[in-house]
Point group: C2
Chain length 383, copies 2
């Protein structure tokens, strides 16, 4: 019988962890006191099985295997079984989720993944560059003007800032139209097309309307923030999108959900082709070990799912690029905004963009031999 | 100009809080370094304004007023502006959200609220009783059998356990049909109808299919877990539902979002008619002050929004009922599961249910004069 394995870090010692683990295994499934489990067969068929309890400094780590049937292979119910009620226990953190093959088949993971995004950007063997059109408050034309600068400098991917919604002062349709025209125009000049990803945001109806509009206007990628939309709504968006989907971490700051489990395993499983996160470089201070684990979760073999691009951002300086490319390897995409936008004028902005592009290309050559990242080329079993 | 006021607790002293507050006001809107704000007018029109900085023990509290236009009056973008990127800063917690009138009109809040749920249960002036049909793993018939016991004992509201999905071993339609039949049957015997709320769970499509099915089968209320579904998907569900919607806290365990702001303000604003939370009594240990604040946020006057029922749960013992009814007042609903379900047999289960009902009725009489809870009777301006 297949299981969903979930690992929790508990702020209790190993001894106390034994009874806590057993409680969690019940709480996440039958959610009744042990004495209320009158039907013996439920313990076999439904209740999670405690598989491992280990010390982790003064804390403990417990791994519980839940019968996969409890998840109904549904994205919302998966979260419910993995961390629903236990997320409300102040001393518990979900640190790893290990989805079995049937769940990977059911949810499907990235529809395009690293390979699809390389195809969409025509970048074969180096790390990719990414920046954002912003800030919120500019008109569609002013945003498109910035996009022209980024595109002429040869940046690979330009996403909307995650704060660009369907604003009265900058409506979605006008913005996406102006930005796509800018990209087309520069492609005619240079022969190279920057991939522009408009930000989709709203309740499910709004979201799908925006997706159709973006596709109709000719977008070749989109972006969304799974934690703002809700992971199940994000999963549905990925299933319906005909173009790659980038995931943004906004509203994802649940300290109690380890970044590698949330942004790494779940975002990929639900279909993100590229996952933006705040890395060790910059103003968020995610630990290097968490960044490494997150990138591993996105690219390692997982029941035939396509690998996703790790997209570190959150305040990377241009001087840090070589080290960062070396850290993540060339199957990565660097997202830089502020270090470009603090330029004094458009000429300096263009120069910084070119420096960004060159440093990533150079860093990728050096990273080449040293840290090959393993991608699975074969398509997912599920589709 | 209207503003969305958001208050954050920062783990820094008052002095450091000044520059942090200014950074947050930018991060949540334009998200560029100060030097990159070349267009002066954006500071006026878009960037949040720091309104207050106060000491809070060794921490600080800062309140920022964001121009309401930045939210586009959209549920997802509201979360984005309120706590999107700042949720990723380890030393920041969102502790209060103060929505202005235009946002309340746009989102609408509860469609039924306390008044509508009192009408649906025919309970006029006392606290309500609530329990759950569970555990996951039982067949539709076995769950319906439990529901019959609860209904005969006179409990007001019986919800599905939040873990009941569209399982292979207990499909949604069969379960809801069997449970509604059980409720009807007992109503014929006793003349009093228990309100049964099926749990809706899944990606947006699944969710709406389940809602239509539940309505067609004759459900007079439904339940959903906003943090599992995503708050914007939950808001859309509430907007489409023809019956009251109970909100369940599953997956809501972001320590970094104060329970009163998340479960109190946001769940109500997005439309929950009753909000289940884990209270001070029981196994989750939410502080009493947080429970008080949460209940206040759900029932206090708020730009014409209907009040929502606070529904404390999470391990209430029967002996604690009088104190709990006195704490929350009679505009509350008590959710008890385990203390009923640990009964040795069905006869004892029925007896415990009757005790639950009696204690709540008695407690409500005593609470009558002492803690009147203010409800707004007038309908929302928005509809």
């Amino acid at each position: 019988m297949e299981s969903l394995r979930v690992t929790y870090r508990l702020a209790v010692d190993r001894r106390a962890a034994e009874s806590r683990a057993e409680e969690i295994a019940r709480e996440q499934t039958v959610e009744v006191p042990r004495a209320a489990l009158r039907d013996e067969s439920l313990r076999e068929r439904i209740v999670g099985r405690v598989e491992a309890i280990d010390e982790d400094g003064s804390d403990s780590r417990v791994t519980i295997a839940y019968p996969i049937e409890t998840t109904a292979h549904d994205p919302a119910q998966l979260l419910n079984v993995a961390f629903g009620m236990t997320s409300l226990q102040p001393d518990a953190e979900c640190v790893a989720i290990d989805p079995p093959a049937s769940l990977c088949r059911a949810l499907g993971g990235p529809r395009f993944g690293i390979e699809g995004l390389r195809k969409a950007t025509c970048v074969e063997a180096r790390a990719l560059t990414c920046t954002a059109v912003k800030p919120m408050g500019l008109t569609p034309d002013a945003l498109a003007e910035r996009l022209r600068i980024f595109a002429r400098a040869g940046l690979d991917v330009v996403k909307d800032d995650q704060g660009l919604a369907d604003h009265a002062f900058c409506p979605f349709e006008a913005r996406v139209r102006a930005c796509l025209e800018a990209v087309d125009e520069v492609a005619q000049e240079t022969g190279r097309r920057t991939l522009y990803a408009p930000n989709l945001i709203g309740a499910p109806d709004t979201l799908l309307r925006q997706l159709r509009l973006a596709e109709d206007l000719g977008a070749h990628a989109v972006m969304a923030s799974p934690m703002l939309l809700g992971l199940p709504a994000f999963a549905e968006l990925c299933r319906r999108s005909s173009v790659p989907v980038l995931a943004h971490p906004s509203f994802g700051g649940a300290l109690r959900f380890a970044p590698e489990a949330l942004f790494g395993t779940l975002f990929r499983l639900f279909g993100a082709d590229a996952v933006i996160f705040v890395g060790y470089a910059g103003r968020y201070g995610t630990p290097r070990a968490a960044c490494r684990a997150l990138a591993d979760r996105l690219r390692e073999p997982l029941h035939g799912l396509r690998p996703s691009f790790p997209v570190p951002g959150g305040g990377i300086a241009l001087a840090e690029i070589p080290e960062i490319v070396s850290f993540y390897g060339r199957d990565s995409m660097l997202l830089i905004g502020g270090a470009l936008l603090t330029a004094q004028d458009d000429a300096e902005l263009a120069a910084r963009c070119r420096e960004f592009a060159h440093r990533v290309a150079d860093g990728s050559k050096e990273a080449d031999g040293r840290r090959p990242t393993r991608s699975e080329a074969e398509p997912s079993e599920g589709r």
